[in-house]
Symmetry: C2
Subunit: 333 residues, 2 copies
């Protein structure tokens, strides 16, 4: 089952069921007005939504054309967005950045940060940043939406709580990371609104691509049409989503509709940009720059500037976009 | 105008208007089902709620008895909870704690951290913590609920966005603060669910007690019935709520219904516990312990333990509770 949220003038948008091939959709308003409401009533909403999806895919319902440009983030605002650190090679590569800490701590237990969830960006929303030399970066990640999880939950309970899967772009202002970390209270200014793909899928709706609490698909990133990275989100996972949820629930319950991010997808390799054919590349600029500094003595890849276009999408074996693509243009305010 | 949210089995509860003397309330369901919905439609909801309050206070509506024990947090879940650092004497006193940083940075611009907002505790909810020597502490703070604020907003726009005022208890697990700060990603495990007073008031509903973007009232804290502190929230304010909102909106829009905390209320003085008559005391245990260490060479005041009861309430000139009291018992899971 695949779901999306369409713009309808309300802050939570309109929940729709999307056909397997992403060409059509049908309003789920009869079941739930918006995705959070469906999550709040998942025991009854999920089977009803699945039945609607079955009818749509079977052609029993005609539906309407699905236009990703009309999509908001699946949860345009959420009660919680927690970003993790599932891929150690990301941390290792950016650890040289000023303000980063404690290698041993980070490999034993996943780092988590509490992100802003009051305004999650649509897949085609501009990356709006204030003026200044902020070192604008993207971070391509996998994200899951979970049901309620009790404090102290174990891996099994955590894994069962995963209801929906998608990808996101955790926009980062690298120049502000050091300040945020230095002041000791954690990321704040460095992490403006995260953008999400138009479609969320249930784990079973992903077939074999979802197993072992991780997404076994490459995530392709292009910048201004040139492939920047194609790391596989199922490879080099140090902490899977069950690990991240268990860690997040150490001292607190997690509310229904909490979104958990995997951290920047990152595979181990010793490539540098530009990508060679079949290369893996990077899912954020900061990693590429660190590797370039080591290899060439200086970073070559620039951070994003006004007008740059970042496209991020998970790809199946046939190269089709599994959640629809995130495509954002940088706009300096 | 005073509002509260009563338990009704739904995650967002039932919005009610509360009489000025807190004895009666009336359902606001005709106007908005819950507080977030009222905030989303504030231009029409606020005048309608104010008229309901007028009728309730005039006796034109009988209403029903208001029972604070039935109250949830005014927003039982919110899209954003940002806690600030308005009082420098709090930071100065706890700065000796391991992991705290950069004095100059902190006095020029307020520190902010992104808190979890998926599950905000009712005023009478237990403080539920996992077992272990976690150094359980309270932090009595003022909090405001704001309307939407655009990125880059100035003080005037920020001040006008303040719609509702209350107090909260930002529960802190001090033993986990160092870990959270050391790993560099900021507070997470050290800050479980924050509890809120049963009542939110509009700034104008507070009369002269709200001016200059701050609350001019003492906040009284008792632990197991003994007064622990009575600092005035309007005194020694280094950053007021307009400052905190401006800082929060530096690189992002702030969504409607965002809650901003003042940081632990803290007045400058050189008292130590136990409080002398008319003393100011402390609004968290960590400050008292730091002062004791300096004065006596060791901390005397213990952190909270299972069964301890913390009561927090803002008091008017007649000693009446302005938002109703937070009263929480510690429960180790």
């Amino acid at each position: 089952m695949k779901l999306a949220t369409l713009r309808n003038g309300s802050p939570d948008g309109q929940l729709v069921v999307v056909s397997r091939d992403h060409t059509r959709c049908v309003s789920a308003g009869r079941i739930s007005r918006h995705l959070q409401q469906a999550l709040d009533n998942w025991q009854t909403a999920a089977p009803a939504l699945a039945e609607l999806a079955r009818q749509l895919d079977a052609g029993a319902i005609a539906g309407q054309p699905f236009t990703p440009a009309e999509a908001l983030a699946p949860l345009p605002r959420a009660y919680q967005w927690i970003d993790g650190s599932g891929y150690m090679s990301h941390l290792e590569r950016v650890r040289t950045l000023k303000g980063s800490k404690d290698e041993e701590l980070q490999s034993n237990r996943p780092l988590l940060y509490q992100g802003g969830s009051d305004s999650l960006s649509a897949p085609a929303a501009q990356i709006r940043v204030p003026p200044g030399d902020l070192a604008i970066d993207f971070e391509a990640e996998v994200a899951v939406v979970i049901g309620p999880v009790l404090m102290g939950a174990g891996r099994e309970e955590a894994g069962k709580a995963i209801r929906l899967v998608t990808i996101c772009n955790d926009v980062s202002l690298r120049r502000l990371v050091a300040d945020d970390l230095q002041n000791g209270f954690g990321f704040f200014h460095a992490k403006p609104s995260t953008a999400f793909a138009p479609i969320v899928a249930t784990p079973e709706g992903l077939g074999g691509a979802w197993r072992d609490h991780r997404l076994h698909l490459p995530v392709e990133i292009t910048v201004n049409g040139v492939v920047y990275g194609r790391p596989n989100a199922g490879v080099d996972v140090h902490f899977d989503f069950a690990d991240l949820i268990v860690e997040a629930a150490r001292t607190r319950d997690l509310g229904c509709g909490t979104i958990i991010g995997s951290g920047t997808v990152s595979n181990r390799h010793d490539e540098v940009l530009p990508l060679k054919r079949d290369g893996l590349g990077f899912a954020c600029i900061a990693e590429a720059r660190t590797v370039e500094k080591i290899r060439y003595g200086r970073a070559r890849t620039p951070f994003l500037k006004a007008g740059d276009v970042v496209r991020i999408g998970a790809r199946d074996g046939s190269g089709r976009s599994v959640f629809g693509d995130i495509e954002q243009t940088v706009e300096v305010m």
